[in-house]
Amino acid sequence: MDCTHAQTLLDTYLDGELDPVRSLEIDEHLHGCARCSKSYSEGQAFHKALKTGSLYFKAPADLHKRIQRSVREAARTETPSGWFSPWWIKTAAPLAAAALLLLLLIPTLKGPSSDELLTQDIVASHIRSLMADHLADVPSSDEHTVKPWFNGKLDFSPPVSDLAKEGFPLVGGRLDYLNNRPVAALVYRRDAHVINVFLWPSNTIPRPAAPIKTQQGYHVIRWTSSGVEFSVVSDLEASQLVKFADSLKSSVGTSAS
């Protein structure tokens, strides 16, 4: 493990949230690296400074009583028989109206950023798959092994094809969670670079690949075809990743026909 890698994982290591394999690698690295072990003890001091306890706000003494009173009061008035009382309708109607308004507003308010959030999630999932040493649930380069593995685990059957001929061998597949749903993740390699492809069924009309996005040094390409949403992410060089996306697109095109 090199210093850059060690430095990015140091915080997680200090929190004791790193998987055992990485922890050992960091242990080893710290033994041999004066600079990183200095950062380590600095980090330790910093964590200690935050945990002194004097930063913690305990609830004021009277708050417990005040809350207990109001909860008990709420418990007394909360009777199931009042479901259709005018009181309920009077409260619910404006609430429903407000909720409706909110539903109408959310797409316009958050429209541009939901896309960004998804890109962020895609990159985070990619990084996580590398960190946690959990790249594939079904490590196989055979598309006829990987594709059936998803049966019964997802509500759709993802298209799987090996792209070894094009220089991107299939490594395996796993389940992941993105965009608030379980998704298929296919893992490919190009030399030392890992490529994650996330797939889930789409309900939007087919759209061509969005321009390549870059976040934290990772490139993301997304598109929709044959009713499936594709998200490709890797630290591979951008032009290479575009080539990969093109190969994937044409293989899906041929297998679908």
Binding site: K48, L55, A75
Partner: protein, 175 residues
């Protein structure tokens, strides 16, 4: 669930986490009065929806409600705008500087750490509060703030980095 039984279970399961609820609210609201109001409102909300709680971690469940209550209030009152976004350009510093937290520790200046933490944006402040003060696992934090585990990891690292820089620039001002 009968009304009485529900109240009893609520008092057993949820009431013990009052300190955690108050601490989070106090850090998000940055003053005592608002924090009290938020905690009270959050508890009433939590009681109302308590039938829907089948989870394992009552504290995480309660804190989710506390957080939502605070954010709703903050958004309506635009108080969040008062948080100065921290300018990394101005405050950036190189690697060779002394360790700020060590200095703060030496001077025993809790107040300085407190003020620096308050200066962070809410999304950074809350992960530090949940992790370092509340000592929750990444997994539970992910539940409370509703983001993937990997995001907790990276956000926490960024939040701490930023806090260190703020702390350092404050120490430089005073010395």
């Amino acid at each position: 669930m009968g009304g009485n039984e529900k109240l009893q279970r609520f008092e057993q399961v949820i009431m013990p986490h009052l300190d955690a609820a108050y601490n989070l609210a106090r850090w998000l609201m940055r003053n005592e009065d608002d924090a009290r109001d938020m905690v009270q409102e959050a508890y009433l909300r939590a009681f109302k929806f308590f039938d829907g709680f089948h989870g394992v971690d009552a504290r995480a469940w309660l804190l989710t409600t506390v957080r939502n209550t605070c954010y709703t209030w903050l958004e309506q009152n635009r108080r969040s705008r008062a948080t100065t976004s921290f300018d990394e350009e101005i405050h950036s510093l190189d690697d060779q500087v002394a360790n700020p937290s060590e200095l703060a520790l030496k001077s025993g200046d809790v107040e300085m750490v407190r003020e620096s933490l308050e200066e962070l944006s809410e999304e950074f402040r809350e992960v530090i509060v949940l992790r370092d003060l509340e000592e929750m696992s990444y997994k539970r934090i992910a539940e409370v703030i509703n983001v993937p585990l990997g995001t907790v990891m990276s956000r926490l690292a960024r939040a701490r980095g930023r806090l260190r820089r703020i702390l350092f620039s404050r120490l430089k001002e005073t010395s």
